[in-house]
């Protein structure tokens, strides 16, 4: 296609639409980040009454409402556990689905159903299950399970996409050279699909860290951060809630960019070493 070919008018119209959409997408969050730097006398809305880090400092003082750091620690811990489980379970299941095994189709349908099931129903079911069994609901038991019903379908679908395009000749070559099954997975399969595993980890952590709907009935007495935030926003009178929002969004962004940079680094290294490992997927 010649580069000097003129863009049709529709190009500019749609480019403008996308621009507006991006403003719509990021505008609100930018607003609360800005408002979180309110001066000590500042309120919940504009105008800015000076600029300060006062409200970020407030985060570290005891709050009249909400248990910020307790819920933050629970969310962080839960996110990391969910991330590890999502990566390991999805990867193993991805390997399994390359072969036939009894119940494969049923399991796939179960995963897809879990993805599209309204979260309130899942949450209610898990709450009722623990209630019937007489087990106290907690973030590390019932909420962990609830989060996995949300992250695992994503992990599994990503693994499907990966293994659909994965050439088995690399494993055959390894086996011909005398590698055991474990060695083939450890030294051939995992390194080749590493960028996708980073992607699964990203989904696992962020979807869990920000999950609220499936957590609501399954978390028990001690809240995760998103639930704490939802409870706090009803009674919020100071920009401290914005500071908290800005902080947790910043954490999400750090996780997202770290994952993306990790993927890019792996790709670059492959290009530099002239390896064709990436071609297998």
């Amino acid at each position: 296609m010649p580069t000097e070919e003129r863009r049709p008018p529709i190009f500019y119209a749609l480019a403008a639409l996308l621009g507006l959409f991006i403003v719509f997408l990021y505008g609100p969050i930018a607003t609360i980040v800005l408002l979180s730097f309110q001066g000590p006398e500042g309120g919940l809305v504009f105008p800015m009454n000076g600029v300060s880090l006062h409200w970020f400092g407030e985060l570290f003082r005891p709050q009249p409402i909400g248990d910020i750091w307790g819920s933050f620690n629970r969310s962080l811990g839960l996110g990391l556990i969910v991330m590890a489980c999502t990566v390991v379970f999805s990867f193993l299941a991805g390997l399994a689905f390359r072969r036939r095994f009894p119940g494969a189709t049923a399991l796939l349908y179960l995963a897809v159903a879990s993805l599209v099931m309204p979260s309130v129903v899942v949450s209610l079911g898990i709450g009722a299950l623990f209630e019937m069994l007489g087990i106290e609901r907690a973030w590390y038991s019932s909420a962990l399970g609830a989060h996995l019903t949300w992250t695992l379908p994503f992990g599994l679908l990503i693994m499907f996409a990966v293994f659909n395009r994965f050439s088995p000749s690399y494993e055959e070559a390894a086996r011909d050279l005398g590698a055991t099954g474990w060695q083939t997975v450890r030294h051939v399969v995992v390194p080749i699909i590493l960028p996708s595993l980073v992607g699964v980890a990203l989904f696992g952590f962020t979807l869990s860290y920000d999950e609220i709907a499936r957590t609501s009935q399954s978390v028990g007495a001690l809240n995760t951060l998103p639930l704490e935030l939802e409870a706090m926003q009803t009674n919020a009178t100071t920009p401290v809630i914005y500071a908290l929002g800005a902080m947790t969004t910043a954490l999400s962004l750090v996780v997202i960019s770290t994952s993306l940079i990790a993927v890019l680094l792996v790709r670059r290294q492959r290009a530099r070493l002239g390896t064709d490992a990436g071609q297998a997927v």
Binding site: I10, L14, L17, L18, I22, G27, P28, I29, T31, I32, L35, V45, F46, F89, L92, F97, R98, R99, R100, F101, G103, A104, L107, L110, S114, M117, P118, S119, V120, V121, V122, L124, G125, I126, G127, A128, L129, G145, L148, T149, L152, G181, L202, F203, T206, L207, Y209, D210, I212, A213, S216, L229, E230, Q233, I241, G245, T248, T249, S252, I256
Partner: protein, 289 residues
């Protein structure tokens, strides 16, 4: 060695799938089955679940006029959100897939649209409050520009705010599957249409739209499931002013009324399944995965 491996292969595969299967069984299949069972249970204030077989919970759901109102408004939210996200999603996906020539630009812009998906829903909803509130930025602008005499109350804690929130959250769930369908369309089909004299609009309507149906259907399923069961957006952006089915269930659960909530959830589930089934009749997704 090899024959043994072959015989063991299904066993190994089963073991590999076991953790995933166990999670879905224990935390999805069993709980959903339990929702069905509990919807027929009895309850008292201090005993949350009394095993029984009663249709009272369903009778309650269907006898109250509130139920019909809530379903009506929830389906309305669903329809309006669907129309907005499908239109926006299609146009943006079309722009990314067909109007941009550089693969890198495509991916970077798709990423820019996707990043909020990995951040907090609650924060994204809370973030609208200082914009839409009585003293919010939008109202101040409207008043200062002389467009309205007094701050508008319908901007926040209203049906409008809720739909705006949905569009904000779920347009991406349309963009990604539609984009995915579009990049698989054989470019020679478009060249053929152009050679046969089709203009841009005709190409979109007669070639691209029909071939993006799968993506639109997958996106629609997500939007329907999310909006029908939502209670977080309704809670934050609807204030106490808006009721939806999900919110109603959440409220019942906050009073620990498991059986009525379960009956309500069953009705919701049937409604969602009917909507998805109708969609699947229009487009056979399995054929095209």
């Amino acid at each position: 060695m090899q024959p043994l491996m072959n015989r063991l292969s299904p066993v190994v595969a089963c073991l590999q799938a076991l953790p995933l299967a166990a999670v879905f069984l224990a935390f999805f299949a069993v709980p959903i089955a339990l929702v069905v069972v509990v919807s027929f249970f009895d309850y008292e204030t201090y005993r949350l679940l009394i095993p029984a077989f009663t249709l009272d919970n369903y009778r309650e759901v269907f006898s109250e006029s509130v139920t019909y109102q809530t379903y009506l408004i929830t389906i309305e939210f669903c329809a309006v959100t669907w129309a907005i996200t499908a239109t926006l999603g299609f146009l943006i996906a079309y722009f990314l897939a067909f109007q941009l020539r550089s693969r890198t630009t495509q991916l970077v812009l798709l990423l820019v649209c996707s990043i909020p998906f990995w951040t907090s829903i609650v924060i994204r909803m809370i973030a609208w409050i200082p914009l839409l509130g009585r003293n919010g930025l939008v109202n101040r602008l409207l008043v200062e520009l002389g467009l309205v005499a007094a701050p508008q109350e319908w901007l926040l804690y209203s049906n409008f705010a809720v739909v705006l929130g949905y569009a904000h959250l779920y347009t991406l769930t349309m963009i990604v599957p539609i984009f995915n369908s579009m990049v698989r369309i054989d470019r020679s089909l478009i060249e053929a249409a152009v050679d046969a004299g089709a203009n841009t609009w005709q190409v979109i309507r007669t070639v691209i739209l029909p071939l993006s149906k799968t993506g639109i259907a997958i996106g629609s399923i997500f939007v329907i499931a999310m909006v029908m069961g939502d209670f977080v957006t309704v809670d934050v952006l609807g204030g106490g002013q808006v009721a939806s089915v999900g919110k109603q269930i959440a409220t019942q659960l906050s009073y620990l009324q498991f059986p009525p909530a379960a009956a309500n959830a069953m009705v919701l589930l049937v409604a969602v399944i009917v909507m998805i089934a109708l969609l699947m009749r229009a487009v056979d997704i399995r054929k095209e995965l």
